[in-house]
C-alpha cells in the first residue's frame, strides 16, 4: 500500500537502499512515522539501523530510494534546525567543558546568545551534569558523554529527535533518565526515533516498533494497544477432554492443549469469565489462569533467529 507523502508524517521513506562497495547495508526501507510518535527501531547488530538513521539525517547518501523528513528531502539543511541527533557513540573535542560544547552546538543551530543563556543551564540540569559543568569532556565517563550528547540533541527543542542507542554506557539511573526525557519529548509533541537493541527499553517507551533484519523492515507493530486488543491466556488445568477443547471454539479459534496447559488467544479479556464458568461447568479442574503479555523479546528472537546479532 503506497501512502501519499503527507506533512503529518515526521519520517517518510520509500525503498531506501544503501550499498557500501558491494555490501548491502540497507536493502529496502519503507517507513511512515507520524508526527508525535515514539518509534522504536529494533534489530540485531549490523541490521542496518544506524545506516538507516544516517540516511534520514543526510549523513549517508542512499544508493536508491526516497526519504523525507518533516516534509522535506532528507538532509535538507534548513530542516536540520528542527532535528536533534544523538549519535551512537557521542564524542567531541575533549578540551571543551559541557557548557562550551552546548554553546558551540547551539550556535551551529543558529540560536541566539540570549536563548542559549537560558537553555544551557536547563539542559545541564535535565541530564544531571550541573555539578560537572566546569569539567573538561576528557574527564567525562562514557555515561556522562552520552548525557551531554543527549542534551546537545535537545538544545533546539527539535520537532524530530533521533536517538541512536541512547542508553549505551548508561547505568540504570541514566536509563531511567533517558526514558523520562523521551516521555517528556513526546508530551511536548516531538517525534522520537529510538534505535536500540535493548528491548525492555523500547517496550516501555515506544508507541510503535519496526523490526529490521538484513536492512529490511520485516514487521512493524503498535505496542501497548495490542495487549488490550488481543490477549493470550494460559490456563493450567486437569481433566480436560477433547470435547471441552472443541467447545472453546465458541470464543476463540486459537486453542492449543499442551500437557497441562490450555493456551487461548482471545479477542478481548472480557470473555474470560464466561470461559471460566464454562470450564467449571464441564468439571475441568482449573489451577491457574495466567494472561500472557505480548513479549517483544520473544518476537524479536523469532524474527532475527536465536543466532542473530552474532
Amino acid at each position: 500500500m503506497e501512502m501519499s507523502r503527507s506533512s503529518d508524517l515526521a519520517i517518510w521513506t520509500r525503498r531506501l537502499r544503501k550499498v557500501y562497495s558491494g555490501k548491502v547495508a540497507v536493502r529496502n526501507l519503507t517507513l511512515d512515522v507520524p508526527r508525535g510518535e515514539v518509534f522504536g527501531f529494533l534489530g540485531p547488530n549490523g541490521a542496518g539501523k544506524s545506516t538507516s538513521v544516517k540516511m534520514l539525517l543526510g549523513l549517508v547518501f542512499p544508493t536508491s530510494g526516497e526519504a523525507e523528513i518533516l516534509g522535506y528531502p532528507a538532509g535538507d539543511v534548513k530542516t536540520r534546525s528542527k532535528v536533534g541527533f544523538l549519535p551512537e557513540h557521542f564524542r567531541f573535542y575533549d578540551w571543551l567543558t559541557p557548557v562550551e560544547l552546548l554553546k558551540l552546538h547551539g550556535r551551529l543551530y543558529g540560536m541566539s546568545h540570549a536563548r542559549l543563556r537560558e537553555r544551557v543551564p536547563v539542559l545541564l540540569d535535565l541530564v544531571g551534569l550541573t555539578p560537572h559543568r566546569d569539567k573538561r569532556l576528557r574527564d567525562f565517563s562514557k555515561g556522562m558523554l552520552q548525557r551531554i550528547g543527549l542534551a546537545q540533541a535537545l538544545l533546539n527543542e527539535p520537532e524530530l529527535i533521533f536517538l541512536d542507542e541512547p542508553t549505551s554506557g548508561l547505568d540504570p539511573v541514566g536509563r531511567r533518565l533517558v526514558r523520562d526525557i523521551i516521555r517528556a519529548q513526546r508530551d511536548r509533541g516531538a517525534t522520537v526515533l529510538l534505535n536500540s537493541h535493548l528491548l525492555g527499553e523500547v517496550e516501555i517507551t515506544c508507541d510503535r516498533v519496526a523490526f529490521i533484519k538484513d536492512g529490511e523492515v520485516v514487521e512493524a507493530r503498535k505496542l501497548n494497544s495490542d495487549v488490550e486488543q488481543q490477549t493470550t491466556v494460559s490456563i493450567r488445568a486437569g481433566n480436560v477432554t477433547a470435547e471441552v477443547v472443541s467447545g472453546l471454539s465458541r470464543w476463540t479459534s486459537i486453542v492449543r492443549w499442551e500437557g497441562e496447559h490450555l493456551r487461548l488467544t482471545l479477542s478481548s479479556s472480557g470473555v474470560l469469565p464466561e470461559i471460566l464458568r464454562y470450564l467449571v461447568a464441564k468439571e475441568v479442574d482449573v489451577y491457574e489462569v495466567t494472561p500472557q503479555r505480548f513479549s517483544l523479546e520473544e518476537r524479536f528472537l523469532e524474527i532475527v533467529g536465536h543466532d542473530g546479532g552474532l
Binding site: 549523513l59 530542516t79 564524542r91 567531541f92 552546538h105 543551530y109
Partner: protein, 276 residues
C-alpha cells in the same frame, strides 16, 4: 556564519595541539641557537678584520638559512597538525554531531580550513619576525623583501593545507600524511635536480624540476621566497646554498594559487558528497 563558528573552534583545537607548541618550542630553540651562532660569527669577523661587504653577505646567507629552517618547520607543522582534522573526525564519528546541524558541509570544511590558516599565519609570522629580529640584533641585517618572502612561505603552507584537506576527504589520516609529505618530497627533490641542472646547464634536468613543481608547487614557492629575501648580490653571484639558480617565475606563483584553489574545491566537493 557557520564558517566563522567552525573557524573559531578549529583555531582553538589546532592551538591546543601539542604539535604546535612543540613546533614553537623547536622554533624558539632554533632562534637561540641561531642567535648564538651569529653572535660568535660576528665576533670572529671582527677579530679577523673581514671586509664589511663579505661580512654583510655572510650575514644575509645566515638569515636565509634561518628562514629556510622556519620554512621546514612550517611545512611539517602544516601537515602534521591538519592531517587528522577531517579523516580523524570522520573515522571517530565526531563530525556527525556537526554535519547534522543546519550548516552546509562546505561551510564546515571552509571553516576548518580558515581556522588552520589563522593558526599557521600566526606561527609563520612569529617565526619570520623572530629570525629577522635576531639577525638584526646580532649582525645588523634583515632579509631583503620580508613581506613578499613571508607571503610566499605562507602560500606554501596554504597549498600544503589545501592538499592535505583534499586527500583527507578520500583517505585515512595516515595515508593523507604519507601522500602529502610524499608530494612535497617530490617537489623538494625536483627543486634540487633543477638547481643542479641549472649549474651544469642540463636542460632536461631543469625540466624535471619544472615538472615536479607543476605536480606540487611548494618548493618552487620557497625558492621564490628565498629569491625575494636574500641579497641581490647573492642572487647574482649564486654563492649561497639557498640561492636560486633557476628562479621560479611569477607565473609559477599564479599557478600555485590556482593549484591550491583547485585542491580546496576538490576537498569541498568530495566532503559535500561523501558519506560521513
Amino acid at each position: 556564519m557557520g564558517i566563522w563558528i567552525m573557524a573559531g573552534v578549529t583555531f582553538r583545537e589546532a592551538a591546543r595541539k601539542k604539535m604546535l607548541w612543540m613546533a614553537l618550542a623547536a622554533g624558539g630553540a632554533f632562534l637561540i641557537l641561531f642567535g648564538t651562532g651569529l653572535h660568535f660569527q660576528a665576533k670572529d669577523f671582527a677579530a679577523h678584520g673581514m671586509s664589511p661587504v663579505l661580512r654583510r653577505e655572510i650575514s644575509f646567507a645566515m638569515v636565509t638559512m634561518g628562514l629556510y629552517a622556519v620554512d621546514l618547520l612550517a611545512v611539517l607543522m602544516t601537515i602534521l597538525t591538519s592531517i587528522d582534522t577531517l579523516s580523524g573526525e570522520i573515522a571517530s564519528g565526531t563530525i556527525q554531531a556537526v554535519a547534522t546541524k543546519p550548516v552546509p558541509r562546505w561551510q564546515v570544511l571552509l571553516g576548518k580550513w580558515c581556522g588552520f590558516i589563522g593558526m599557521l599565519t600566526a606561527y609563520i609570522a612569529i617565526m619570520v619576525v623572530g629570525v629577522n629580529a635576531v639577525t638584526y640584533a646580532m649582525a645588523g641585517v634583515t632579509a631583503r623583501h620580508i613581506v613578499q618572502g613571508f607571503l610566499l612561505m605562507w602560500m606554501e603552507s596554504v597549498v600544503l593545507l589545501s592538499v592535505t584537506f583534499a586527500f583527507a576527504t578520500y583517505f585515512s589520516t595516515l595515508t593523507t600524511g604519507v601522500l602529502t609529505l610524499g608530494l612535497h618530497g617530490l617537489a623538494f627533490l625536483g627543486g634540487w635536480i633543477e638547481q643542479f641542472g641549472a649549474i651544469t646547464q642540463t636542460e632536461r634536468a631543469v625540466r624535471v624540476g619544472v615538472i615536479a613543481s607543476v605536480l606540487m608547487p611548494t618548493e618552487a614557492l620557497w625558492r621564490r621566497a628565498a629569491f625575494e629575501m636574500q641579497s641581490p648580490l647573492a642572487n647574482a653571484m649564486r654563492i649561497s646554498p639557498f640561492s636560486t639558480l633557476s628562479v621560479p617565475s611569477m607565473a609559477m606563483v599564479v599557478y600555485a594559487a590556482l593549484y591550491l584553489s583547485i585542491a580546496l574545491v576538490i576537498a569541498i566537493r568530495r566532503f559535500s558528497q561523501r558519506d560521513l
